[in-house]
């Protein structure tokens, strides 16, 4: 779940960076800092998407204790 936070966090940070960049009065130093940050975030988001290995599982009830466990699932 922490993974999800990082992706969403990166995205919302990216949105903030873009917003800040839209201010034409931003100082040159700040602009360069924002730009570098933005490029880094874009890369991280893209990488997160590309690297994602989708897991497909099915919940199975343990006959003895009734607990649910996730097991790989193949729909075919």
């Amino acid at each position: 779940m922490s993974d999800k936070n990082s992706f969403e966090k990166n995205l919302s940070e990216l949105e903030q960076v873009v917003k800040a960049l839209e201010d034409n009065e931003v100082s040159l130093d700040k602009m360069i800092e924002l730009f570098e940050k933005g490029v880094g975030l874009t890369k991280e988001c893209t990488n997160a998407l590309n690297a994602a290995e989708q897991k497909i599982t099915i919940l199975m009830k343990n006959r003895d204790n009734g607990e649910m466990t996730e097991q790989p699932f193949n729909a075919e």
Binding site: M1, D3, K4, F7, E8, L11, L14, V17, V18, L21, E22, N24, V26, L28, M31, I32, L34, F35, G38, V39, T42, C45, T46, A48, L49, A52, E53, Q54, K55, I56, T57, I58, L59, M68, E70, F73, A75, E76
Partner: protein, 399 residues
């Protein structure tokens, strides 16, 4: 008497009756229960039939647009509940039922039960938009509550895999029809809410008859969906099937595939978006640099940078002026002093004893060198010096 009054044409009468009926609130939105007879499916797609009960019969028609959505095959003897309006067919002077929806009146009056529950839950506010939760934009894990076999789960997995590989999928297998199906769907929704292993849920099944879909019209399922803190997308049957679950869910999807489309973004569109964001940032960075460059250009145009020596030149001139003024002032002051010295010299000259000597006066000095101003200072025989204008000489005091 007959001659005195104006006779109406048959058509006028029929039109008048049609108009009267059309203005009746009950007749224009009516549910009718009966058995089908004289059923005829025309090649045009329209259906013609009669509805009858023990003591009466009413003609009915269902046009293609509505007939094509029927989820059962009507035939003579089928007991149905039909929804529509009563209208007049002028040509025959017949009133008939124009059906826009029809359900089989099977076990326990399902259609009526559906309507009743819908009204009850709507009154309780279970369908209110205010209770609809927004779906997460990028769910890390999508929970699916449906049967482990069949088209629904396959379609959902296909779409999720193709569209957004970032989201994991976890299936809670349930019965989607039959006696225990409602309880099993409720259990699944409650499990996800307890374990919190998914960010969004798809609850549904593929198409079927109204009986097949019935568990999604059960009150316990509706309440479980309503109570879920995890957002739920309902996906029951086909586009035309509406269940109570659809009304309670945070979002209704027309089919299971559509539900999958709704819960995740398109990876391709997202990649495109990142690309656009990158381009936009790049353009914006260039714009900021260009703005700064323009500001520098503007500064360069200002006088101080165009002719930086101009100020120095004028300062130098000022300095020169000052120097000149100072010199003049000095000269004037010196001349004045000189004048004063000359004047004083003349005055001094006038007072000098030497001037007096020039006029023939003389004075005498004793041997000590002191000027003799009194006779008491000398005695006979003293030698004194006499000073005249052009020198001095010695003399002896005789008396």
């Amino acid at each position: 008497m007959i001659e005195e009054r104006k006779a109406l044409s048959v058509t006028q009468v029929n039109l008048y009756v049609k108009d009267v009926i059309a203005r009746d609130d009950i007749l224009c939105d009516i549910l009718v229960k009966g058995e089908l007879s004289n059923f005829k499916a025309h090649s045009s797609g329209h259906m013609y039939m009669s509805l009858k009960d023990d003591s009466g019969v009413i003609r009915a028609v269902m046009f293609r647009s509505s007939a094509s959505k029927l989820n059962f095959k009507p035939q003579n003897g089928t007991k149905v509940i039909a929804h529509g309006r009563i209208g007049v067919y002028e040509r025959d002077g017949q009133y008939q039922l124009y059906i826009d929806d029809m359900q089989q009146d099977g076990q326990g009056d399902l259609y009526a039960a559906f309507e009743q529950l819908k009204i009850k839950l709507a009154a309780e506010g279970l369908f209110d938009p205010i209770h609809k939760k927004p779906l997460p934009k990028y769910p890390k894990k999508v929970g699916v509550v449906t049967a482990p076999t069949g088209a629904a789960i396959r379609d959902i997995i296909n779409v999720l895999t193709r569209r957004f590989s970032y989201s994991d999928i976890v299936l809670y297998p349930v019965l989607v029809q039959g006696e225990n199906s409602a309880a099993s769907i409720v259990e699944a929704i409650e499990y996800f809410n307890k374990s919190r292993i998914a960010d969004v849920l798809i609850v549904g099944r593929g198409g079927g008859s109204i009986e097949d879909l019935w568990s999604f019209n059960e009150e316990v399922v509706a309440r479980a969906i309503y109570n879920s803190e995890i957002p739920i997308v309902s996906a029951v049957g086909h586009e035309i099937d509406f269940t109570i679950s659809d009304f309670v869910a945070d979002l209704r999807a027309p089919t299971p595939s559509a539900a999958a489309e709704l819960v995740v973004p398109s990876q391709i569109e997202l990649a495109e978006k990142f690309n656009n964001v990158y381009k936009m940032m790049y353009r914006q960075a260039l714009r900021v640099i260009e703005n700064r460059r323009l500001q520098i250009e503007k500064c360069k145009d200002r006088a101080v940078f165009k002719n930086p020596l101009r100020n120095i030149d004028s300062d130098r001139q000022y300095l020169d002026n000052l120097a000149h003024m100072f010199e003049t002032a000095c000269k004037t002051a010196v001349a004045a002093k000189r004048q004063k010295v000359a004047e004083n010299a003349a005055k001094l000259d006038a007072l000098s004893p030497l001037g007096t000597l020039g006029r023939g006066y003389a004075f005498a000095k004793g041997s000590s060198g002191a000027v003799i101003k009194s006779i008491s200072q000398v005695s006979a025989g003293d030698r004194v010096t006499i000073r005249v204008s052009d020198g001095d000489f010695k003399a002896e005091v005789i008396d």
